[in-house]
Every structure is written in structure tokens, then in C-alpha cells.
């Protein structure tokens, strides 16, 4: 290898570095790959004083099955620790022996209009009205990790009027 070739190569190396380094810096600036491993955690309080208020725990939208049903189902925790279900914007069809129950969202029978056999559920009470905002008290034993769906359910005909899958608020 001649001397001139070696010097050409080392010159070229500097040229390559001169081009490559800015490209690398630009790519780093654009993609900031280190952010894949760096997390930024925040924990801002709610924008309002809420310690004494009811805390929403879960919420979900009602979807109709056997009858058109709509509205929102939310579960609140009261300051004394008890839990209430509240239906808002609520509308379903009127019917005989209609109840509000908690059931398991994974239960296959909830996908259909009618349940064969017994629905595995927690009773919250008779439906107070087929329209309007209303509240139901939850028994202390109700496990919302298991029973994570609100069902408007006609006990007499095992008809599922509507279902709301509850998501963490």
C-alpha cells in the first residue's frame, strides 16, 4: 500500500465522519430512541377538591339486547365506603319484573337476548323506572372484579334488555 493511498483513506474517513456524525445527531434528535426506556411519571391531583365527594370507580355505556337500551352506568364510592350504581341518560323499554343486576361481562349468555337457565348475577333491585337518572345500592359483598357488567334483566322471561360493560374510571 502506497503512502498516498493511506493518506487518501484517512482523509476519506474524516469526510465520512463529517457527514455521518450530523446524520446520527439528527436521527437521534428526531427519534429520541432513549425515550423508549425513560419514563416520565406525573401524579396531578384532580382539578377540584374531591376527597369528600363521591368517587367514580367504574363506568360504561349501556347497549341494547332484547330491547333498545341506552345510557350510562357508573359506580360511585361514597365517603363512608359504600358503593352505589347510578344510571344516567338512561332509557330502556318498560316491561314486567325488570331488575338491575350485576353479571360477569365474560358470560356468554349476555351476548344474546335471552339467557338459557339461570344468569349468574348479583341482584341490585327492581328497576325503578324505564327512563331517567336513578341509583341502586350495591351490597358490600359484591365483587366488582368478578361482576363487571350491569345488566337490565327481566327475571320472568330471562330477557337481557341491555348490558353495560364496566371499565375502571
Amino acid at each position: 500500500m502506497t503512502d498516498s493511498m493511506i493518506s487518501w483513506l484517512s482523509r476519506k474517513k474524516w469526510i465520512l465522519a463529517g457527514i455521518g456524525l450530523p446524520v446520527l445527531v439528527a436521527a437521534w434528535w428526531a427519534f429520541r430512541p432513549e425515550k423508549l426506556w425513560v419514563n416520565v411519571k406525573v401524579n396531578e391531583p384532580a382539578p377540584f377538591g374531591s376527597s369528600a365527594d363521591l368517587q367514580p370507580l367504574y363506568t360504561g355505556r349501556l347497549a341494547g339486547r332484547a330491547h333498545p337500551t341506552s345510557g350510562r352506568a357508573s359506580i360511585y364510592q361514597t365517603p363512608d365506603g359504600s358503593r352505589d350504581l347510578r344510571l344516567t341518560d338512561f332509557m330502556t323499554s318498560n316491561g314486567p319484573d325488570v331488575h338491575v343486576v350485576l353479571a360477569q361481562s365474560g358470560d356468554e349468555s349476555l351476548g344474546q337476548a335471552f339467557v338459557k337457565g339461570e344468569l349468574n348475577s348479583v341482584e341490585l333491585g327492581q328497576l325503578k323506572a324505564n327512563q331517567g337518572d336513578q341509583n341502586y345500592h350495591l351490597p358490600d359483598s359484591a365483587d366488582l372484579n368478578r361482576y363487571d357488567a350491569v345488566v337490565i334483566y327481566c327475571e320472568r322471561f330471562h330477557a337481557v334488555f341491555g348490558v353495560a360493560k364496566l371499565d375502571k374510571f
Partner: protein, 146 residues
Amino acid sequence: MLSQIKLALAFCVLTLPWGSQFSVSAQESTAKTLATGTFHGKVHQTSGRATIYQEADGKLVLRLTNFKTSNGPDVHVILIAAKDAEDDANFLKSDIARVELGKLKGNEGDQNYEIPKGTDLAKFQTVSIYCERFNANFGAAPLEKF
């Protein structure tokens, strides 16, 4: 006498408790919950809840809870004029109307963003976690009436 009885009867009927009154209305004195929705995002795993509150003075606040997304460069929180940003649409359409709420404060945790006065929530129905540099939608939360 008869008319008096009729009147009394009519009064009784009228004052029957037609609609039951309940008082769980939680944040009436402090803030009202207007709309809420959950995040979904496949390309950059995004999860959690977005909720819009109206404070007593009328100010609108977006609050993210149980929130998690991937960290990235130049990430912002915006409202977009769409029913939902599709999962697979990693990039927002350039002609979509948007309202800037600010830089993402953290990729994890509860956080609040003020919504500019006069923002039409009937039009801007979806929250998007949005990388401005690449026009990329990390995750979107379609909002529904609370």
C-alpha cells in the same frame, strides 16, 4: 264544596312523585363530569381514561387517569374533530381539525390539561396523544357523554 274537593284531588294527583328525585349528583358544587372515554393505541401501546370536567367557573379541563403511553419526542395532547382515530391510522390526516392542549406532561400517571375557552366539544370528540414531529397518533380516546 265539590269544586274544592276536585281542586284538592287535582292537587294530590299533580304532586304525586312522578319522577323520583335522587341526589347522587356528586360534583355539583365543584366540577361537573361532561364526557369520558378510554384510550386505545396499537402501534404505541396507550391505555387509560380521558375525562372532561367543567369547573364551577365554567372552565373546561381534560384529565387523564390510569394513563400510560410510550415516551417519545415532541408528544402533545390534542382534541381532534373526529369520532375516533382508528387504531391502524398511525398517522393523522393532515386536514383534520385539531385543538392543541399542550405538551404531554408525562407518559405515565394522572394529569390535567386546560381546554381553551370556546372549544366546541360537540365537534372535537376525540382526544389524541400526538407526536407533532411525525404527525403520529400514539393513541386516541373517543369521548362519550358522561
